[in-house]
Amino acid sequence: MATIIIPTPLRKFTDRRNRLSVNGNTVREAIEELAFNYPDVRKHLIDDHGKLRTFVNIFVSDDDIRNLKNEYTPLCSEDVISIIPAIAGGME
C-alpha cells in the first residue's frame, strides 16, 4: 500500500490524519480513494471536469507527477505521495 501525506490545510477534512494508506495502483486511483473516504477533500483536489486542480502539486517520492506519467503514474507499496498545496502565510 502506498502512503499519502496529507498537507495541513486538508487535515480538517481527514479527521486530522496526516498520513493515509491507499490501495490504488496509480496516483489517480489513490486520489479517488482518498476522496471517496473523505468526500470533503474532493473539491480541493479535483475540478468539476474531473481533472486534478492546477494549484495542487502532487509528487511521488521526490518527483513531480508531471515529470512522470501524471495521474497515471504507477504506484508501488513503498511509494510516498505528497500533496503540496499553495499556502501564503508568513507576515501575519
Binding site: P9, R19, P85, M91
Partner: protein
C-alpha cells in the same frame, strides 16, 4: 564596485571572525555579504528571524517593505519586536533593532504596501528579494516583479504547523535559470480555500524555523557557497517532523510574464467581495432581545468555538453546504466567525448554491461583539 574592493574595519573583522575562519567561506564570502543588498518583503513572522540573521551575518544593505504597525498579538512569534514597539511602524521598530544588533548594516525602510505600481521601482535597487508576505496577491506580485527585474526570489511560506522554502528565478553557476513560483502554482487557489494565519493560526516557533532556513538560502544565493534550493522545494511539518525536499522544474506551458497586473483581481479577492446583507454589533444586540425570531450560526472551527462562543449553532465554513438543512428559511439568520470574513463566504456559498435570502453577516464577527460587551 566589485566585492573584491570591499574592506573591513578592525571591529568588523572581529565581529565576523567566526564566518571568516570557516573553510570555503572566508573573507571572500564576507565581502560578498557586505557588498550585497537584500529586500525583505514583510517584517512579521518570517521577516523577524530573516532580518535578525541577515543583519547579524553582515549583509551590507537590507531593505524592508511593510506598512503595518506592531501589535501585541505579533509578539507570540515576531521576535524582532518588544513591548516598547507596540503601536510603532514595523519598519521603524525593525530598523532600530537592527541598528542595535549590527551598526555596520545600512537599513532602508519602505513604509508602504508593495503594489503593482511601486514593486519594480523598489525591487530593482536590490540584488536579492526574500518574500515573507502573508497573502496570495502579494506572493504573485513579488514573483512576477522578480521575474521581470531578473532578481532571485528566496521564498518561504507557513501555515499552522507546516512550512515551505525554495529559491525561485535563480540563475545557477551553469547559467540556467531555475523555476519560478508560477511553474509550481500557475494560478492561486480560489479565495477561502486556504485561510490566512489570522484565521487559521500558526505555531509561533514555526516562522522562526522556516525564516531561519530562508535566511540560510539568502546567504547561499549571495555568497555562492553550497547549493541553493533552486529547483528544489523544501517542506517541513513541525508536528510529525516530516521533512521532504522535492524536485521542481520549469514548465513549458507557464505563460511568460510581460507586465504586473491587478493581483487582487487575479486571486479572486475582488470578485469575492460581492455585497451581502450585514448587520452591526448594535443591531445584533437589538435582535437578540427577541431571540425566538432569529437563528445565530457560528462558522468557525470547533477548537475556536470551544475557546469562546456566544451559544450559536456551530457549522464550520467547510460544511455549511452539507448542513444546509439546519439553516432556517423562515427567520432571519445571523452568521458570524472571528472577524467576519469566513461568515461572508458561508453566506455567499449558501445564497449562490441554495438561494437563501434571509442571511445576515455580523460585521466584525465575535471579536467586535465581545469588544462591545466589555
Amino acid at each position: 564596485m566589485s566585492y573584491k574592493d570591499i574592506t573591513f574595519s578592525r571591529e568588523e573583522l572581529a565581529r565576523y571572525n567566526r564566518h571568516i575562519i570557516i573553510p570555503h567561506f572566508g573573507i571572500e564570502a564576507q565581502q560578498k555579504l557586505k557588498a550585497a543588498s537584500v529586500l525583505v518583503v514583510g517584517s512579521g513572522g518570517l521577516g523577524s528571524p530573516l532580518l535578525l540573521y541577515l543583519a547579524a551575518a553582515g549583509v551590507g544593505t537590507i531593505g524592508i517593505v511593510d506598512f503595518d504597525v506592531v501589535d501585541e498579538s505579533n509578539l507570540q512569534r515576531q521576535v524582532l519586536f518588544g513591548i516598547e514597539d507596540i503601536g510603532k511602524p514595523k519598519v521603524l521598530a525593525a530598523k532600530a533593532r537592527i541598528g542595535n544588533l549590527n551598526p555596520h548594516v545600512n537599513v532602508v525602510t519602505h513604509n508602504v504596501q508593495l503594489t503593482s505600481k511601486n514593486a519594480l521601482e523598489i525591487i530593482e535597487k536590490y540584488d536579492v528579494v526574500a518574500d515573507g508576505t502573508d497573502n496570495f496577491p502579494t506572493r504573485y506580485l513579488v514573483n512576477d516583479a522578480c521575474v521581470l527585474a531578473g532578481k532571485p526570489n528566496v521564498y518561504a511560506s507557513i501555515f499552522q504547523f507546516e512550512g515551505q522554502v525554495s529559491v525561485f528565478n535563480f540563475t545557477g553557476n551553469d547559467g540556467e535559470k531555475g523555476p519560478q513560483y508560477r511553474d509550481l502554482f500557475p494560478v492561486p487557489p480560489p479565495p477561502g480555500l486556504v485561510p490566512n494565519c489570522a484565521e487559521g493560526g500558526v505555531l509561533g516557533v514555526l516562522p522562526g524555523i522556516i525564516g531561519t532556513l530562508q535566511a540560510n538560502e539568502v546567504l547561499k544565493v549571495i555568497t555562492g557557497v553550497g547549493e541553493t534550493l533552486s529547483g528544489r522545494f523544501f517542506v517541513f511539518d513541525a508536528l510529525s517532523f516530516d521533512t521532504r525536499t522535492l524536485k521542481i522544474t520549469k514548465r513549458p506551458n507557464t505563460p511568460a510574464i510581460t507586465e504586473l497586473i491587478d493581483y487582487e483581481q487575479f486571486c479572486g479577492v475582488k470578485a469575492a467581495e460581492r455585497k451581502i446583507k450585514e448587520i452591526s454589533v448594535e443591531e445584533f444586540i437589538e435582535w437578540l432581545q427577541a431571540p425566538e425570531q432569529i437563528q445565530v450560526i457560528d462558522v468557525r472551527e470547533p477548537e475556536e468555538y470551544r475557546e469562546v462562543n456566544i451559544g450559536a449553532l456551530l457549522i464550520p465554513l467547510a460544511s455549511v453546504s452539507a448542513q444546509k438543512e439546519k439553516i432556517l428559511r423562515d427567520k432571519k439568520v445571523v452568521f458570524h466567525c472571528k472577524m467576519g470574513g469566513r461568515s461572508a463566504k458561508a453566506i455567499r456559498e449558501l445564497e449562490d448554491q441554495f438561494g437563501f435570502d434571509n442571511l445576515y453577516n455580523l460585521r466584525g464577527g465575535i471579536t467586535a461583539y465581545l469588544e462591545r460587551l466589555s
